[in-house]
């Protein structure tokens, strides 16, 4: 057992009586949304451990578990994700027994074909960085636009050119970039548990083996993109060169371009090859990882 697991168990033993009381309260029926909020907010650590515990069990039973910090952080991150969804959606399920509702919600998540993006290589600092970034992009427009910068080094103006966006969309892109630089990047790194030491290590790696580092980053990016692209609307599949050209020339599908091209390197390169609006004047996008916003 890892040192984290052991100390966690010891802490858990010390707090056992409190936990038993909390569990007792959570097993009782709550009738109103206010009661739900009150009971749940008093037991957040317990609920987080429970959700993380289920995720750990899932990884163990599917033969994907390994006793290390990266795995511990992974299950904690997904436990927090489930708990956040539980807090928001659970209010609409009253009257209910909160503990069992959380269990059922986590079980429902784990019953899906791919409940989360898991790959052993994505648990390295580089993998965690890319997974966290692309995973965030699936739910955040700021992170999505920031992908163009982190993966291909494009600035807001270049993004607007590359996506052939019109005037009304441009301020929004600048706003997305600004918010990401202000708070989004830092929060995302904290949420995925990437420390300053990890970041420093990545920077050193990039400086010493730039070509190899970017090659590895592209490999991992493609893996993460193929997983998180499923969170796009169902009607956003990859398009042929002719279809992209038609879309750009006709001027429709702004959201399609923004979402799909950020999450698909191949389509981005295809669209870039069209050379519309002077996009070809800029070097064709290729993976050059930018660690800072």
């Amino acid at each position: 057992m890892s040192s984290i697991g052991l100390s966690h168990m010891l802490n858990r033993d010390r707090a056992m009586p409190d936990r038993m009381t909390s569990v007792g309260r959570l097993e009782e029926v709550v009738s109103t949304a206010e009661d739900f909020d009150r009971v749940v907010s008093q037991s957040l650590p317990l609920l987080l451990d429970r959700a993380a515990g289920y995720t750990k069990r899932f990884l163990r039973e599917t033969g994907q578990w390994s006793d290390d910090v990266a795995h511990e952080k992974f299950v904690l991150r997904w436990g927090a994700e489930y708990l956040e969804q539980f807090l928001v959606s659970g209010r609409s399920e009253v009257p209910c027994r909160p503990l069992f509702l959380l269990d059922s919600m986590v079980a429902r998540q784990h019953s899906r074909p791919e409940p989360f993006c898991y790959h052993k290589d994505l648990l390295t600092p580089l993998g965690r960085f890319l997974d966290g970034l692309v995973g965030r992009a699936a739910v955040s427009r700021d992170a999505l636009i920031a992908l163009y910068h982190h993966c291909y080094g494009l600035g807001p103006g270049q993004v607007i050119t590359a996506l052939r966006l019109n005037g009304s969309e441009s301020p929004r892109i600048y706003k997305n970039f600004q918010r990401w630089r202000d708070a989004g990047w830092k929060r995302t790194l904290e949420d995925i548990g990437l420390t300053e030491a990890d970041l420093k290590g990545l920077t050193e790696q990039q400086q010493h083996q730039r070509h190899r580092f970017n090659g590895e980053a592209e490999r991992l990016l493609r893996f993460a993109q193929s997983h998180y692209r499923k969170s796009e609307p169902e009607h956003y599949p990859c398009l042929s060169r002719h279809q992209w050209e038609d879309m750009f020339l006709q001027g429709y599908g702004v959201e399609y371009r923004v979402w799909h091209l950020a999450l698909c390197l191949d389509c981005l390169q295809t669209a870039w090859d069209l050379g519309l609006d002077g996009a070809s004047a800029i070097e064709k996008p290729r993976m050059v990882l930018q660690l800072l916003p």
């Binding site: 984290i4 904690l76 928001v88 965030r136 708070a183």
Partner: protein, 423 residues
Amino acid sequence: MDIEREFAGYREHLLNAIRTGPRRSGCGASDPIHVFVNQRRVGLLESAGAEASLQVQSQTSIDSVQLRSEDGVLLGGLSAPEYGFRSCRIALTRAAIELRVHNTPQGGSVNAVFQPVPGFWHRARRAWSGVTDGTTAPRPLTVAGSGGRVLAFTQVLLAVTLVGLVTDRLTGWMTPASPPLSVTQTEAPWAAPLAEVTKLEQQLIELSRMQAKVVETIQTQQQGMAQIQRTMAKVSSTQETVASSVLTVKQEMEQRRKGAGRDADRMTRVLMSKALSEQEQLEAEIHSLVIANERLARERAQLEQHNQELNKRLKTAGADVSKAVVPDIEKPVMAQQGAPSTPPQVAEAKTVPQQPPFLFWVTFSEGASQDSIDQWVRDMHGRKGALSEGWQAVEIVPPAEPMERFLDRLKQTQIVKAVRVSR
């Protein structure tokens, strides 16, 4: 140890993030809100300060609806029921979002309505513009709206009065003190009306009392309105539930009706086909029975005819046998007389088990006369039977020699053409 601390710090960060909830978002009220259905992004609620709505139809059942800000913070959500309606109101900082989910066996639908909450000054401005601007288009007057207008009007009136009063007082203070002069009202209009000021003060007090009353009334009205809205919401949700139940029941009834009709048709068809096949079987059986019956009747007639023939033959054979046997019986009787004494009963017993006559059929050669035939029969110690198709039946005492030899001997006879022992 460092790892443990790092891990504990990470856990604490996640817990804090959960505790902070939607407040973590750095987005403003004017920023769009992303709507996710079953964890897939389906659209945007772009408000720009006005009411906005988004409707999503799905062919699959809706499991969850989530609202996220541009920076990805989860603002609210709803867990959809397996079937039927569910709605909730998610209050944000400067707005509220009404979410409504409806799941049916055919799929689901989501309706999200963004409702900005207007600020106090916005409301007052609107109310004021409603009072002063007579040219504005008439709008449906609500209780809350009229209350707001009265409140704004009172406030404006109070403010004007206060400004007048303060100006009046300030003017009095700033003016250098001067000895009382006998002046006329037209010369110094501000100096004389102290009584008027007192009167104005009283009016002001009355006005503030009135305002307090108005505020109370408005508050009461607002409470009443809130109650009415709650009741309305309850009534509408109940109505929706009832409507959905009625719809479900109707659909079920239709399905059942259709199902029952289909079942009855199928059953009738099955029964009909079964009955038809049974009828066909019966007809076939009847037909075969009729045929069998006819055949039996024919066979019976043939048998009867044959029986009659046999009877006739038997009668004739009996007569012939009796004729032929009588001399033979006499002989042993006569011999008995010379034989050693045996009891007569035993002698009778020996004569009784006579062998049956041997019947065979012959055809005679052409040209054989009837006399020669009769002579041959007599030589054989036999008698003629029926004549059928050229075959003459002949009955004789069973020959002692073997059958084959007997038949060969017969065939060697000149007048016999062919012999057979069976018909």
